[in-house]
Subunit: 148 residues, 2 copies
DNA sequence: TTAAGTGCAAAGAATTTGCAAGTTG
DNA sequence: CAACTTGCAAATTCTTTGCACTTAA
C-alpha cells in the first residue's frame, strides 16, 4: 500500500507535476476504496475528511490527471456519471465488470478473458489493440436467488 | 429497409405507443445512418430536414423510447455524450466496437466474439448475462499506415 | 374523444474554466 | 522565485421536466 503511494508520487514527479496535499489525499481515498467505482462527487466527499478545504474542481482536475497517468481508468456504466477505477498494480489490461441490472452492484473480474478475442481482432481487423472495455449486464447471484 | 420500419411501427403499436410523424422521421434517420453512432444532437439536426418543427426534447424522448424497445442501444465512448446505435435485425447481442484513439473512427464488429467468455462468466461467477458492452481502444489500420 | 405526444423554455445535473491568491520544488 | 495548483463562482454542456397545446387511434 505504502509502495503504491510512493510509486504514484514518483510518477507525478517524473512528469514534473507537483505533489500537493490535495493530490495525496485523493490518491489515498482511491487506494482505500479500491473495490468501489467512485464518481467524482463520491471522491470529493471522501477526500473532504482528509483535506476539508478541497474543492470539487480540484478533485476533477486530479482525477483527470491520474487518468492521464494511467493510475486510474475512467468508466461509465450508462448512468450519466463518470466513475474512476484504480488500475491494478502491474495489470496489463483493464479488468472487466459485471453490472447487475436489478440491484446495480458492480463486480470486478480480474482475470483476462479476452486474450483470444484480442488476437482475432488484431489479425482479422488489423486493429492494434491498446486497451479494452468489457462490461456484462445481467443478474447477479444474489438477485437470482431473491426472485425465486 | 421498408420491412424494418414496418417492424418498428408494429413494435410501437403493440405497446400502445403512437406512431407520430416525429417518431417515424427519427427512425428513418437512424436507418439511413446505420453505420454511424449519432448523438441526440446529431439525430436532431438530421431529423430537422424531414420534420423541421421537431424539438430536441422530442428527439431525446424518442431515443429513450427506442432504447426501451431495444430498437437502439445507448452507448458511451467516453466523451461526455450518449450515442445511439441501431440494433441489427434479429441480433441476439449487441455488436462490438473498435475505437481508434488516433482518428476517433468507430468500426463495428458484427460477429459474436464473446460466446465462450460469456459461458465462463455464467458458470464461474453465477452471473446471468443479459447483455454486454465490448469496446477495443487502439489504432486502426489506416492510422497504422499513416504513422510509418 | 382522450390518453398520449409535442414544442418550448426553464430547470437540473455533471463537468469545465477564468482568475486571483496560495504553494511546491 | 516561477511555475504550477487551488478554491470559488460563473460558465458550459448534455439531458430532463413542466405545462399548455395538439394529435393519433
Amino acid at each position: 500500500m505504502e509502495d503504491r503511494i510512493e510509486n504514484i508520487k514518483k510518477q507525478l514527479h517524473s512528469q514534473s507535476y507537483k505533489l500537493t496535499p490535495q493530490r495525496e489525499a485523493t490518491v489515498q481515498v482511491l487506494l482505500e476504496h479500491e473495490q468501489d467505482h467512485l464518481s467524482a462527487e463520491d471522491v470529493y466527499l471522501l477526500v473532504k475528511d482528509k483535506a476539508p478545504e478541497i474543492g470539487l474542481a480540484t478533485v476533477y482536475r486530479t482525477l483527470e490527471l491520474l487518468t492521464e497517468l494511467k493510475v486510474v481508468d475512467k468508466i461509465n456504466f450508462g448512468d450519466g456519471v463518470s466513475r474512476y477505477d484504480l488500475r491494478k498494480e502491474g495489470a496489463e489490461h483493464f479488468h472487466h465488470h459485471l453490472v447487475c441490472v436489478e440491484c446495480g452492484s458492480v463486480t470486478e473480474i480480474e482475470e483476462d478473458l479476452l486474450g483470444d478475442v484480442e488476437k482475432v481482432v488484431e489479425s482479422r481487423f488489423e486493429f492494434d489493440v491498446k486497451d479494452h472495455r468489457l462490461t456484462f449486464h445481467g443478474i447477479c447471484k444474489n438477485c437470482q436467488n431473491k426472485s425465486e
